[in-house]
Amino acid sequence: MANYGMIIDLKNCVGCAGCDIACKTENNLDHDVHWSFHITETTGVFPNVGYRYIPKLCNHCENASCVKVCPTQAMYKDENGLTLHDPDKCIGCRSCELACPYNCISFNEDVQHQHQWQMDTEPLLEGITSSGKEIAEKFDNVPFPNYNPDRAKTYDGVRRKGIVEKCTLCDHRILDGKDPWCVVSCPADARIFGDFDDPKSEVSILLAENSAFQLLKSKGTKPKVYYINEF
């Protein structure tokens, strides 16, 4: 029993999108599906211009609106405070997508990676270059070459057609006592993962010591991704 969440130190963050792409490798995301993404913002007028980059991921809200609106309990809170999604229960009504104020849930019109790896059969240069399908067929039992089988421990390895999907905070890694892959991959150590119920955890200490903000706090979702410091 824990209450997992994350703190993102915006001062450490350099806005590199490394988390976004690392997430794609860990979770077998198609290029246009973003469990981890970012918001960028330029403010002011030359030469007094500000720019900031705010990493964004599922907030694993305590009061998760996606969980509330889901008609089939496919979106649920687990015993460790994660907001998770059960693809077997999901009917693809997409209510959660609309209810999430953070735009952190995406829907699969098709099986992920289909277009890039299975439906692409045309090489640019016949006999000289390849196609997605040709490459995919070189590997047995995996839908695409860099498929990470670890993902399939707790979720569809590649999400099926017609349902939504979202960040699980790498619950499959947490099970093994490891940090989420975005946390490990962040070259700036801007992401800190931990248990907010444990007062001795780094996240609890950081939260106590810093003035933190959450995204769209006014929505009442009680997000568990906190941001500290300025970009």
């Binding site: 999108a17 792409i21 490798t25 290029h31 211009v49 640019l124 047995d140 860099n146 070259p187």
Partner: protein, 848 residues
Amino acid sequence: MAITRREFIKYSTISGIGIIGMLNGLPLLGALKESTNGTSSVAKWMTTVCQGCTTWCPVQVKMIDGRAVKVRGSEYAKANHGKCCVRAHMGIQQLYDPDRLKVPMMRTNPKKGRNEDPGFVPITWEKAIDIITDKMMELRKNEETHKFVLFRGRYTYMRDIIYEVMPKVFGSPNGISHSAICAEAEKFGSFFTEGYWGYRDYDLDKTRYVLCWGADPIASNRQVPHATSIWGKVQRQAKIAVIDPRLSTTAAKANEWLPVIPGEDGALAVAMAHTILVEGLWSKLFVGDFKEGENLFKKGKIVPEESFVENYTYGLVKWWNLELKDKTPEWAEKKSGIPAEQIRRVAIGFADAAPRVISWVSPGTAMQVRGGYSALAAHALNGLVGSVDNVGGTVRGSKIPVNKVPKYKEYYDDIAKAGTKHKKMDQRGYLKFPSLKKGKPGSGVVTNNAADAILNEDPYEIKMAIGYWNNFPFSCSGAERWEKALSKLPFFAHITTHASEMSHFADIVLPAAHSMFEKYGFIKSKQNLIAYVALNKRIIEPLWDVKMDETEIPWEIAAKLKEKGFPNLMDFFQAKFKDPETGKVPQNGLEFSLFALKYYTQPIWDKNHEKYGKYGDAPDGWDDFYEKGVWNSKKYKYRQNWGNFGTATKKFEFYSETLKKSLGKHADKHGVSIDTVLEKCDYVARGEVAFVPHYEPAFRRGDPREYPFIFFEHRSRLNREGRSANLTWYQAHKDSDPGDENWDDVAKINPIDAKKIGINNGDKIKLISPVGELQCNAKLWEGVRPGTIAKCFGQGHWAYGRIAAKDFKNRVPRGGNNNVILPAEYDRLSGSTARHGGVTRVKIEKIV
């Protein structure tokens, strides 16, 4: 039993030669296939090197059943300490890009040109090498081997084999590198002050002020992972000021942004030096002081040279009298567009925090026409405040013990002897190209000028070229010249992972092994005060019939040349690259690659070598070194060069006797005065001022009345050099470059300018310069100065795959390549291509 690839390699390397058969043959692939059936997948982190930028980080790739799945920084590397930047992850997409070449291909349409379909057809390696060596033998027959050129691109230090030995033993002087389109002008700055022709390392951990000259260390060039990981600390302990016409991420996170008018960086540098002197903030320890103690550096006042006693520096008063005395911040404000008050504040802040400060010179400031002097002035600040080679300042790299290329001259035959006597083909050393690499006139490459040399047959006609991991018609400014030059070239063979713009003009294209996953090699680099050697490895069984550019392909060529009656190259390879452990003579390209790798790195892993363990890690033999994949030097020792800088005076030169000597030699060679050299090379300085860091006005092409905007470009944090535009991850995250848009290539325009010319956000526009035009979309953005247009380099490929090109078949680019509108201009003293500094003006046309 499932046997892992890793175990295979280890087993094989121990047994000596087993690896070759395993890697070459299908049995391995079969074994891997078996192990992927069922649940028993085999996972292992394997070390290699990411060469996505010039940092060259040791990384680890998670291999599962022979597939590359994900990437992290190497746990064994002290320099990047387990970190890698976003580029390393993208390597995976590059590896599995369906647009990679599977097999060699041959041109069937003899006509060359952008609008000619080359009519490529697949051929075997055997046939490809046969055709290439036929051409080479023809040159030998006609005793015109010097008309052969080897164009080098992204390399490892195995480069000597293909780039130095192969052309020379064959009989050509022409190993032409890409270096001058990279950052040579940066080295000019440190060489003619402190005698160091190389990239500096930066003591970020202890610094108190970072002054970035166009540098964007948390996004690009160089040591990105280390800088990224420590930048939070740097922000907390130090002040950061960024001089960059664009609001880069580093600028956004800095205390001070100085959006200089492109090309006017030098004005800021000399004004800062002026301020530091007038305020009496120079380092008394490093530089020295006035005899009488009173600061005589007063605005506009000449200072008697004898009044000042210098310690580790030379020529401070000369510098003041020749250049600095009038270069006030108020003067610089008019040139640079930066308020005098800000210049003064930054200069004083920088000097106050000294010596734990860094004046960080990057290509943005250096790779400009006349940019060598800007680099000189900006780097001189490190001397002025005593941060050079010092705690928290700029330092050099620690010693790296690796072997040099074995002596090969004894393998020259008469043709080779005669051929190698010719001058190199790029016109280095011509009056207009002093190219003073390490102070030696005519010794630095002038990469971009090779196109003109081919077109003008000056110094001589070029009949054949081989290029590897380069793409000059895309990456060189004045790109169109390269299209013409390569069209004129009678025979060109290109070694590349993708059919690219350069391949489009090739007769033979050879599929290259990927440097991060499929190739043996080693690199030398430095970050975090640690110099290191890291191994590029073949960690996967390549999907396609690719070969290692720097070793396997020369091997194949040498073997074929031997068959055709010229055995010297093969003889050299077999004689000099025996397995250092067993003495075995290499029998094929892969063995050769591995033995050469072991040879070069022998001082690192061979316990019997005199240098073993002396300069850093002491791995437990080859297998241990191979497994870890990285060797770390000892931490850099501060001040080791104080009193013994590599300059003519052994001092840190503010008045560069070293430069004076070099320029003198070049002038003498041509029988002209130094002033004539300067004039021919587009510099404005005449007389003594040419030997001190000084202000040179920005050089621009284009009449401001016709071309109202100054154009400048910048780098993307997602660029794996120019090669990542074909990756969906690149396109889908392009907005991580401030101001840029996903799946788009935008010209960033200040809203004031856009309003004036009636351009809206997202409008399709043409950027037109005096040398070319490109199409892209408009982005109204406050992060650029009014009057300037900024655009990221990397998009605009018309032949680099299905995503990079909007329409590959019809050669329609996605976005526009900056190098089409950038003219081929140079910082001639360093031979560098001047892509920065607003070298051209442009006009904007809306496409309706």
